[in-house]
Amino acid sequence: MTPLIEAKNISKYFGPVVALKDISLKVHAGEVHCLLGDNGAGKSTLIKILSGVFPPDEGELFVEGRPVRFESPRQAMDLGIATVYQDLAMIPLMSIVRNFFLGREPTVGFGPFRRFDLATAEKIATEELKKIGIDVRDVHQAVGTLSGGERQSVAIARAVHFGAKVLILDEPTSALGVKEAAVVLRYVIEARRRGVGVVFITHNVHHAWAVGDVFTLLNRGQSYGTFRKEETSREEVLQMMAGGEELASLEVELEEIARNQGRNP
């Protein structure tokens, strides 16, 4: 099967800093691909390349097998690659339905009488929200009245509704409480069921493990490799994420401290 989006040997440099080195990644339809790594591992740089914010310095991108070079995020969007950024998801003072259709308003009428078809918009938004299990009184209420998790979910629902084939989620759960994160995770699963390829960026192994099919671990701009869920375990992933060696050496150090204390009562 051709991957929806494929990165081959991507590198990116910012001056003397090697942000990414030789990263390869495939995202298939109906698959959640978790991108894991500590701060500064290069996760953000990689998704910015995938979503067209800037091009890679080396390597190639393919969308459904065809080589592409994005000039803008709009171009990536037009090819079905939608990115939901944690801080750019929704405009709080605008109503849910106005947010949902911002930039892609359905219209009725012709010429100067062309107008925003709010009745249709309302119907679609209400249906889409129901599908993700968000019960709002009224889609005309301000987005600011929704919880953080609900806002993320609505942003994801919007991307899926507008035909996203690949959904890139930038730390959608990192600022959320446990229950709120569950709302978002449930919707990630729903998007996968609909055949969307999801790139899920997170710090949190528990969140990743709950929804992920494939895990790619980044560390200091390099890849530790890609693992399918059945080939690995949560503990293994956790260990790799924390930087396996560092954790092991920390353990040795702690043991030594404990031994020394035992010797000098």
Binding site: M77, I91, L93, M94, R137
Partner: protein, 339 residues
Amino acid sequence: MEHDTRLRKVSPVRALMARPEFGSLAGVILVFAFFAVVAGDRGFLSARGTLNYLEVAAQLGLLAASVSLLMIAGEFDLSVGSMIGAAGMAMAIPVAIWGWPMWAGIALAFLLAALVGYANGYLVMRTGLPSFIVTLASLFILRGATLGFTRMITSRTRVSGLHSYAQGDPLAALFSGDPLGIPISVWWWILITLLASFVLTKTPFGNWIFGVGGDARASHAVGVPVARVKIILFMATAMSAALLAVIQVLDTGSADVLRGELKELEAIAAAVIGGNLLTGGYGSVIGGSLGALLLGMVKQGIFFTGINTDWFKVFLGSLLLAAVLLNDLLRKKALEAPK
């Protein structure tokens, strides 16, 4: 989903209070009631008295509609007042001095306004400077240029005697007179308020106005042409100033370089009283128009009460402060998660 305890019926009163124009509507009713009681027998309630304050409100309301749209889009235009003076002269000088037909003078006034609006918008978008600063600069430049050119060409600061040129002019007829006994400015005010409100609430462009004012970066990310939206609104604002200038010149038969001074601040006051958020992303055209109605009523109402009109600005300032506090409170209520 009836079982969900978070779903409940909102009372119509609460729904009304959550609207941005609620504060100004309440204000209009209160102020009307006040003057009806205090000055009702001195002519405030008469047809003449009503037309009197409606005309004052209309001249401000013409501006307030587009100023509200621009404010919702997150920008200011402080050059509105200077634009009124400039557009008036751009119309009067060619007609009175160079012998142009009146319609050509009117067309020039609108063309100049479109250009100035475009320049304001382009500079704001291009430089990334706050529109407050850019249009403060155009406030001075426009007023100075109007004075300079007018004195250079006419060696005066006032051009008068224009009534005779307007006779039988096809375009001038659109901007003068009292159809059905109501001043033309009131008709334009109603027309523009309805049009601007329709654009804001019923069209995709209106949705973009809310979007660019709420969060320009997020709007850009979903494909809204942020610069185009704002530049169009700067042009609309300048052109509404030109409309007011044309109406005033045809009404008084003269143009004056100082005309329109401080109108930009009154229009902003009306927009803010009408519940438009100074930082953008929230508001209503109807609210801005009600704000203008409120100010017009107060301005003329004071006259009817017999209180010295010197006190008008004290009322204006107090009203503005009270309205902003009330609107702020109402908006916070509207944004509270329903419990």
